[in-house]
Structures are given as structure tokens and as C-alpha cells.
């Protein structure tokens, strides 16, 4: 595994998300088929998957998918985690040797809970804030150790390679999830690194991103002021923190958060007739200027309740949505959706700056 490059890597990409809205689980083969259809959108320097619903036996534990440069770093990471969390179970993430996958890190997963003494204390952090802090500390202080994902009953599997061999390497056909989101990468430098592949995750949120955020410098400074640290040197990382910040910490709905990240233009805000709504929109823009994502992007964000597709307010990168039976899709190309399940019953291009949400139906 390459170590962290000391620079930001711009990238272009292909993305696909598949949700079974009834919560029925399915293995990774479908999404791999869809991703394989978008080979042109990657260059083999990074691919990854996230799946939700894969660890029902540990559903209440935070699952930390971690990458370590070597066994020593793994030991360091585990030592640290033992001081801040109760580790209910940990094990290597199962992999299988795959011809085109090389330079792989030590991959390990920990099922943990925050130490009760820490979060139960009066004025102590919430469980979620505590876990965010653990993730930030690992990424900053544990040399050679990175957290790929940290949510409950979900996990991120990513590395350097095309999607198909990455899926094979991680044996994704052996996992059953109700939501899968994937990404193939075309980073515009010579070396990809495992930690820089998508998805990026913090707690329940996972992000795959096609684009380059021109406003990264602003967004990074913005989330930093709320205690997040951008340590992975890609512009996409910041989007996952933004979702966590706006939706969890600020309690905004996904729609409101989307309006902060892909705001309507001032001209449109000025034209809103309902004065209350206009004041709301103007205030979002005034308060969340640092959260506005500028430049080309198309994002699929996965979370416990489903997935969201969002593009920049000019729609400089493609994103399509579709529905067929219980399945909902969001993808860079509609062709990827067809490759998974044939012609969908309903499909449409996502509008600029307007979030498309597909929700998991409440378990009945």
C-alpha cells in the first residue's frame, strides 16, 4: 500500500448505486456487472464498494473497516482502539489473491462500541461525536493506519484496481446487503493509493463522487472548524464530513443539506414568492457559504435510510436515476443500470442541484 501522497488528487469517475427499497438483501454480483459496463470511466487506479445491511449479527456495533500499511501499524491501531473502545470482535477482512491486485494493505475490521464511561459522562460527547473523534484520531495519529468506514451494519471495500478485480479480491459475492454503491476512478496522477479510493465514509454516511471540487479549500476549512480533519488528501473526503455535519450535527433534512451544498442561485432565491421560504433559502446561503460545493460534481451518498443522488448546480457531471420493481438506481450512466437489470420501468436524468432520494421502506 502506498503511503499518503502529500497532495490532493483530482479525479473523474463512474458511479452506481442500487437499493432494494423493501430491504431485501442481495450479493455484490449485480453492482459489479453494472460497474464493469463503465470501464471507460476508470483507469484502474482505484475502485470501491459500500454495502449496507451486511453485518446483521453485529448490527449495534460500529464496524471499523481499516487499512494498515503493515502488521506493526495494525498492532498500533488495535492498541489505540482498545484504549478508547470496547472491541466486541475483530478479524481480518477476508480477501482472495487476485492477479491484478497488488501492494495490498493489511485489512482488518473491528466491531466496537464507545467506552460507556466516556460517553455517559455528564456533558460528555454523544456516541456519534465520540466515534468521529476516534476516526479522526486514527487517521491523524496512527501512522500507517486509516479508517475506511465506521458505520453500523455497513462496510466500505476499496483499493487500487478496476471494480471487478477489487470485488473479487474482497469476495463481495459472499456479502448480502440491501444497498450497494460503487465507484471506479480515473485519478489524474500516476499512482493511486488504497486510502484514496472511493467510497469515503464517516459513521453511516458513504460518498462516491465524480468530479473535482473547486471550492475544496473553502469546504475543508469549513468542516475543520467543526472538528473534522481532512487527512486523506482528496476533495471527495470532505463531502462525507459535510453530510455528517449538516444532517447529524446540525439536524438538517437531507433536502436542506442538499440545498446548502448545491444552493439555488441568488437570482432564483430573489424570485421566490413566499417570503418565509425566501428567507429560509437566503439564510441557508448566508450561513452555509462554506458548505457550498462548487465545480463539477455528481455524488451518490449512502446512509442507513437509503441513498441520495446530487449533482452540482450547473450539472457539469452526469447522473441518472431509475426505478424498477423494488429496486432503485442512481448511476453516472443509464447504461450501467441496464447492465444490471435490463431496461428499467422508469428512468430520468437527475436535475442540476436537486437531490434525488431513494428511501428504504420502514421495516414492517
Amino acid at each position: 500500500m502506498h503511503r499518503l501522497p502529500p497532495f490532493k488528487i483530482p479525479a473523474a469517475c463512474g458511479t452506481l448505486g442500487i437499493l432494494d427499497q423493501t430491504g431485501r438483501r442481495f450479493n455484490g454480483e449485480d453492482i459489479v456487472r453494472g460497474m464493469a459496463n463503465m470501464r471507460e470511466r476508470g483507469n484502474g487506479l482505484g475502485a470501491g464498494f459500500v454495502s449496507y445491511g451486511i453485518y446483521p449479527e453485529h448490527a449495534d456495533d460500529y464496524c471499523l473497516h481499516m487499512m494498515f500499511v503493515d502488521q506493526t501499524a495494525q498492532a498500533r491501531g488495535k492498541d489505540y482502539l482498545q484504549t478508547v473502545c470496547a472491541i466486541n470482535h475483530d478479524e481480518p477482512i477476508p480477501t482472495t489473491p487476485t492477479p491484478t491486485i497488488s501492494d495490498e494493505p493489511v485489512l482488518w475490521r473491528f466491531f466496537v462500541r464507545p467506552l460507556e464511561a466516556k460517553t455517559a459522562a455528564q456533558n460528555g460527547p454523544t456516541e456519534e461525536d465520540y466515534m468521529v473523534d476516534v476516526v479522526m484520531t486514527v487517521n491523524r495519529d496512527i501512522e500507517g493506519g486509516y479508517v475506511a468506514s465506521s458505520g453500523k451494519n455497513m462496510g466500505i471495500f476499496k483499493g487500487v484496481g478496476y471494480p471487478t478485480p477489487i470485488a473479487e479480491y474482497y469476495r463481495l459475492d459472499e456479502y448480502q446487503g440491501h444497498l450497494w454503491v460503487s465507484h471506479t476512478r480515473f485519478p489524474t496522477n500516476t499512482g493511486g493509493w488504497w486510502g484514496g479510493a472511493h467510497p469515503f465514509g464517516i459513521l453511516e454516511w458513504s460518498i462516491v463522487h465524480n468530479g473535482e471540487i473547486s471550492s475544496y479549500g473553502v469546504n475543508k476549512r469549513y468542516v475543520t472548524s467543526f472538528g473534522y480533519e481532512c487527512t486523506l488528501f482528496t476533495d471527495s473526503e470532505v463531502i462525507s464530513y459535510m453530510f455528517d455535519l449538516l444532517c447529524r450535527k446540525h439536524g438538517l433534512s437531507i433536502e436542506m443539506a442538499s440545498l446548502a451544498m448545491a444552493s439555488p442561485e441568488w437570482e432564483q432565491v430573489d424570485g421566490i414568492e413566499d417570503p418565509q421560504e425566501q428567507r429560509l433559502m437566503a439564510t441557508i446561503r448566508q450561513a452555509y457559504g462554506g458548505a457550498l460545493l462548487n465545480g463539477p460534481f455528481a455524488v451518490i451518498a449512502g446512509h442507513n435510510g437509503g441513498m441520495v443522488g446530487l449533482s452540482d448546480r450547473l450539472k457539469l457531471r452526469p447522473l441518472a436515476a431509475a426505478q424498477s420493481g423494488d429496486r432503485a438506481y442512481i448511476a453516472s450512466e443509464e447504461a450501467a443500470i441496464w447492465a444490471v437489470g435490463g431496461k428499467p420501468e422508469l428512468s430520468w436524468p437527475i436535475d442540476a442541484g436537486v437531490p434525488v432520494r431513494f428511501n428504504l421502506q420502514e421495516a414492517s
Binding site: 471550492s215 473553502v218 441568488w266 462548487n294
Partner: protein, 501 residues
């Protein structure tokens, strides 16, 4: 007094073949450097009195005149430059402090020229401002760090008063008294038309400017000139002037001969009396005193308008600015060492204060670290020459900038630095009716409006080139800057990477 040993500063050349002895130059010169002989109508020049304002050169109908700086004649010396010698000789003759106008001409490095802006290539597309909306709109004031909605989705967060700017450029404080009413009117009208603000300076607000008061930031300075209830009521924002980049740490002095009847009425002082602004506010001897004045003004204006605090960029600018924010300032305006003025001791102008580039970057960084950046906007001032300087300041963390000198140049100023004499031949920094009528406020307004329009177009073009369509995405965005020929320490303070990295 003994004969002056000063050599003239300027060489005035008159091409006798072109000169038609029309006498325009003699009427235009306010310094008696161009003289007409009343007996025979012949014109002549007394170069010793020339200030280099270029008025006669510009208005000579036949192009017969040239005014150039006199070069060092005789033996040159790197320490004892002509200017250094001249200053000593002048003080030996007068025994006084040397006065000057405008920003320092000492030649401190302009850091803007060591910073370059980014542009998109291939991996992200640039945005064409002719095709896509390009937003320069900026709001100044305290903003919430989050918003809250009730169960019905209605906004429950109260946002304090904000100043909305269509372009992140405002006109700096220039008082009526330091400049003419026609100049004030030009600034007021251009600011109103462009959706931005002018600043009254510390001389009150002339009645003719009330019409534009919704685009006025009015100052409360140590002299409290012209401050009354209505003055505060009509303004868009109130600014407490603590200091100014051209003269940090000292007060101001408008000589009695400039205090004409309308200025006396506006400043609320007797006609002909000196208007002296003390160095400190005599009710502010600590940060908590500043807080009291800020809240006194907020109370007086019913919390309906933002309160700005203007400070000069000095060594400890970072904690000072942080203190101002914690004291309740909604806007902190920081004026750098290159900031201009109508009158200041030369030695102060040229030797006190730090460059605005470092000040704004350091203040932005610290306020972010302290988690209070959203509580106040930062306005940078001090020598902004063009739209690129402004965008670089925004990338270093400024919400907007104040421009004074650029606005004066737009109205005709030729940088002779003699504002303090009150004889401005361009009709700007003078109260002499014979001179002030030279600045037609309609033309002044048009020229200022043109400048703002041109800068707006350039800013949009550069923003689009960087792949963004809102100035929000540039504010504090150090990724959009790279440094050339700066030291490691300087880059660290600016938080900017070297070019190539």
C-alpha cells in the same frame, strides 16, 4: 527666512514652439507654478512650486507641457537619496513634521505580486460567465454557524442584520472635508448604482448625501464629528474608526481654514475651528471599552444594522481582531500599511503598520481556529489596485475590500500626494469652489461605476476560470493561490503553497 536650499522636485518643460500662451496652465495650476504676466500675457514657470499633479500637462490644448520628476544630479548615494536629503533640508527650514497624502511610496514589496491565482484545466471545466450565472453577491455581518427549523420546517434561527453587496468592493472612508462634496456625491451615487457602499469617513454626512444613506457606512471616530441620532439612523451600517493604515496610532487634524460653513455644519463644530481627532477614543482605553461603544451603537440603532470596527494592521493584528469580534463587532475592517489618507506625517505613513496580505490571512486563520470566523466579516483595505488584488484578498479570507485610492484615481487623481494642502487641482481633495467645480459629480459617478463594472466582469471571468460560479467558494480558499518568490515563513503565514506544489 533664509533662502531655500531645496532643489525643485520636478522639471517642467514647455515646448515654446507648441505653446500658444493661452494661459490654461496658469488657471489650472493651484500652486502658482505656472504664472501669467498680467501686463503682456506671457506665461512662465516656477518649477520650485510644481507638485507634479499633471493637471496642466493633461489640459494643455497643444500638448506643449511635460512634467517629470527631477533625477538625482551630482553625486548619487544609496543611503542619502535625493528624497532623504530633501526631507532633512525641509525640516531644517521649517522645524515641523513632514506631512504627506495618499499611501506610502516607500516601495514595500506588494505581496499580491508574489501570489498567483489558479485556473481549471481538463480535470475540472472552467465555467463560462457569459453562459452561466456568476455570483459576486456577498453578505457582511454576523452569521449563524448553523440554522434550525421547527417541526413544520419553518426557520427559527434569527439572523442579525447583514449588508448585502452585489460586488465585494466598497469605497473606503473618505470624509467630507478631506475630499470635496462633489467627490462624496460621486462615491455615493456610484455605490448606490453598483449595489455596494460608500463610507462617510469621520466628518459626518452632508445633507446632500442623505439621499444615498441606505448605501452609506457612517463612521464614529475619536472626534465624534457629525455624530447624531439621525446620522446613525439613516445609515446602512456604523463603523467605529479605531485606526487607519496610513497613520496607525495617531489621530487626525483638519485645519481650521478648511472648515468652511457647510463643513462646520456637517461636522457640528464652529466655522474655522480646527477639527482634531484624538489619537485614541477618549472613552476607549481597553477592549471592554470598545465592547461598550459597540453595544451603545447597537442599542442606539436598535440592533438593526451591523457595527464595524476599523483597525490598522499592526504587529498584533491577530489578537486585536479576535478581540474586536469577541467584543461584538459584526465587521472587522483591517487597513494595511499601504492604505491611503488625506494627510499624515510621512514618517508614520512610511514606517508603521504591516502589509494587509499577512494581516488578512493571519486574522482569517485565527478566527477560524477559534471557531468565531462566522461571527464577523473581514474587510481588507490598503492599496488594492485591481480586480486580481481583490480576488487574492478574498482567497486569503477577506469577505470584501475597501478601495480608496483606486476610486480617487478613477475620479482623476494623479497621485501627487499633496491632498493635505487642500489645493487638489483635480477638484477632489479640496474645498476651494474654484477647484471643486472641476469634478462634475455626474462624470465622477460614471467613471466610478465603470471601474466597478469592469472589475466585476474581470472577477467573474477569473472565478469562472477557477471552475467556480460563486465568490463564496473562493473565500479563504488558499488552494486557489500559489506563491512565487516568498520565504517559507511568509508562505506559512499566508497558508499558501509554493508554485509547483
Amino acid at each position: 527666512m533664509a533662502l531655500s536650499v531645496l532643489a525643485p522636485e520636478f522639471v517642467v518643460k514647455r515646448d515654446e514652439e507648441l505653446c500658444i500662451e493661452c494661459g490654461v496652465c496658469t488657471r489650472q495650476c493651484a500652486y502658482d507654478a505656472q504664472i501669467i504676466n498680467p501686463d503682456d500675457g506671457t506665461v512662465s514657470t516656477d518649477a520650485a512650486k510644481c507638485v507634479g499633479c499633471q493637471r496642466c500637462v493633461t489640459l494643455c490644448p497643444t500638448g506643449a507641457l511635460t512634467v517629470t520628476e527631477r533625477e538625482m544630479t551630482g553625486r548619487s548615494h544609496p543611503n542619502w537619496t535625493l528624497g532623504a536629503q530633501r526631507d532633512i533640508a525641509r525640516q531644517a527650514e521649517t522645524g515641523g513634521m513632514l506631512l504627506t497624502g495618499m499611501g506610502t511610496d516607500k516601495g514595500y514589496r506588494v505581496i499580491w505580486d508574489n501570489l498567483i491565482l489558479n485556473a481549471s484545466q481538463v480535470t475540472n471545466p472552467s465555467i463560462d460567465p457569459l453562459r452561466e450565472p456568476m455570483e459576486l453577491r456577498t453578505y457582511l455581518g454576523a452569521k449563524p454557524d448553523r440554522i434550525e427549523l421547527d417541526a413544520d420546517g419553518r426557520l427559527t434561527t434569527e439572523v442579525g442584520p447583514l449588508l448585502g453587496l452585489d460586488i465585494p468592493v466598497m469605497f473606503s472612508a473618505m470624509s467630507y472635508g478631506s475630499i470635496s462634496l462633489n467627490a462624496c456625491l460621486s462615491l455615493a451615487r456610484a455605490a448606490s448604482a453598483a449595489g455596494t457602499y460608500f463610507n462617510s469617513g469621520e466628518g459626518g454626512l452632508h445633507r446632500d448625501l442623505y439621499e444615498y444613506s441606505d448605501h452609506a457606512i457612517v463612521q464614529v471616530a475619536s472626534g465624534r464629528f457629525g455624530v447624531h441620532a439621525e446620522y446613525l439612523d439613516v445609515a446602512a451600517a456604523v463603523e467605529i474608526k479605531i485606526g487607519q493604515g496610513a497613520k496607525p496610532g495617531i489621530g487626525g487634524h483638519l485645519p481650521g481654514e478648511k472648515v468652511t460653513q457647510p463643513i462646520s455644519a456637517t461636522r457640528m463644530i464652529p466655522e474655522g475651528s480646527d477639527a482634531i481627532s484624538p489619537a485614541p477614543h477618549h472613552d476607549i482605553y481597553s477592549i471592554e471599552d470598545l465592547k461598550q461603544l459597540i453595544y451603545a451603537l447597537k442599542e442606539a440603532t436598535d440592533y438593526s444594522k451591523p457595527i464595524s470596527v476599523k483597525i490598522a494592521a499592526v504587529n498584533n493584528i491577530v489578537p486585536i481582531a479576535s478581540g474586536c469580534v469577541r467584543a461584538g463587532a459584526d465587521i472587522v475592517a483591517i487597513d494595511g500599511v499601504r492604505g491611503g489618507t488625506g494627510a499624515t506625517p510621512t514618517v508614520i505613513r512610511d514606517n508603521v503598520g504591516i502589509p494587509i496580505e499577512f494581516a488578512v490571512a493571519a486574522v482569517d486563520g485565527r478566527l477560524r481556529e477559534e471557531g468565531i470566523r462566522h461571527q464577523a466579516s473581514i474587510v481588507a483595505a490598503g492599496g488594492f489596485r485591481n480586480s486580481a488584488d481583490i480576488l487574492k484578498a478574498v482567497a486569503l479570507g477577506a469577505d470584501a475590500v475597501y478601495v480608496g485610492t483606486s476610486a480617487l484615481i478613477a475620479m482623476g487623481c494623479h497621485m501627487c500626494q499633496k491632498c493635505y494642502t487642500g489645493k487638489c487641482t483635480w477638484g477632489i481633495a479640496t474645498q476651494d469652489p474654484y477647484l471643486t467645480k472641476r469634478l462634475n459629480p455626474e462624470i465622477g459617478t460614471r467613471r466610478l461605476s465603470n471601474l466597478l463594472r469592469a472589475w466585476g466582469l474581470e472577477m467573474k471571468e477569473m472565478l469562472g476560470g477557477m471552475g467556480m460560479n460563486s465568490i463564496d467558494s473562493l473565500r479563504g480558499n488558499r488552494e486557489m493561490l500559489r506563491a512565487v518568490s516568498l520565504t517559507r515563513e511568509e508562505m506559512d503565514i499566508l497558508d499558501v503553497a509554493p508554485a509547483g506544489m
